[in-house]
Symmetry: C2
Subunit: 188 residues, 2 copies
């Protein structure tokens, strides 16, 4: 998914604006398993994924990783709270496949927000959209059984199952790898 196309579909930017906006992003190749942000760092960039899958994850006691979110092609990815509040990130960000992303720094983004009303609108729309998705996950986690959460995941990230290790998905769903494996088998 192309950044220009993506932006145009959300807000009808005049092409001059859009050109200017795009020029503030940098295209980057990112290697599989390389961290974009570590816990404790302030997340300095917002990423748009052109190709690849990423995830955010917490590191719990005993080194256990808990996936917080998956990010696929055509989505923005960041440690949002850290990026916007300029606080240390509570979790890690990494790509799970070799990827191509577009990145922009906070300063540049702020500049674009200030320069273009349309851009501010884009920010608002993306933010409420993400809010909706997080609320959905919260309600899945809060009152669904392990099996129902698995079904929720299939709607939110239809093809993720074939792209990332089972353990990542299990922790994203708030269950152990063993439980997810049992659910997949069909019984349990």
């Amino acid at each position: 998914m192309n950044l220009t196309t993506y932006l145009k579909n959300i807000v009808p930017f005049p092409s001059k604006e859009l050109e200017d906006i795009i020029s503030y992003f940098e295209r980057e190749s990112v290697q599989k398993n390389s961290p974009l942000v570590r816990k404790g760092q302030v997340c300095s960039k917002l990423y748009f994924i052109e190709k690849g899958v990423g995830r955010s994850y917490y590191l719990k006691e005993a080194g256990k990783e808990v996936t917080q979110w998956f990010f696929v092609e055509g989505q923005f990815m960041s440690s949002i709270e850290s990026f916007f509040q300029q606080d240390p990130s509570l979790y890690y960000l990494e790509m799970l496949e070799d990827a191509i992303v577009y990145s922009i720094s906070r300063e540049k983004l702020d500049l674009l927000f200030a320069r273009y009303h349309n851009m501010e609108k884009l920010g608002r729309l993306l933010s409420t959209e993400m809010l909706t998705r997080v609320v959905n996950k919260l309600s899945a986690i809060q009152f669904q059984t392990a099996r129902e959460r698995h079904d929720y995941m299939l709607t939110e990230f239809p093809d993720i199952a074939n792209r990332v290790p089972l353990g990542h998905i299990a922790s994203y769903l708030g269950m152990t790898q063993e439980t997810l494996s049992r659910i997949r088998r069909g019984n349990s």
Copy 2:
């Protein structure tokens, strides 16, 4: 908490703008336990709470209510996904005390977003702030024990315990009333 003061503290609106913006809101008195939105309705208004506490809640099988969020003085309240996407709300919204709120319709709000860049910015900021808070709750629900979630709640809504029934808080925290009662007692 006064709406004008609140808005001014987030974005430095010129007073003319602010005056115009405020004029689009309507002041309403709302009675305790009266629903602002029912499940299945499209939520037509965004509310700002000047006085009172509200909550959003799901109605599960067997008529069991599950609180999704609390809203206190000085916060905006709505069925956000429904309000912004104009979809039927998945949950109810009600005030838990006699309250005073300021309300605005989607059309008027859109008009203000379009008219004032500052307003759009306010929308973006409030939306990312809410996103942060929901992410925090999600992480509490997803990997904390019942007791830890209780502690999380005390930071998010310090004085809520004295204002709303225990059952509402328990379901907000994803546990039963009995469990919360046992936690409060200190053992368990």
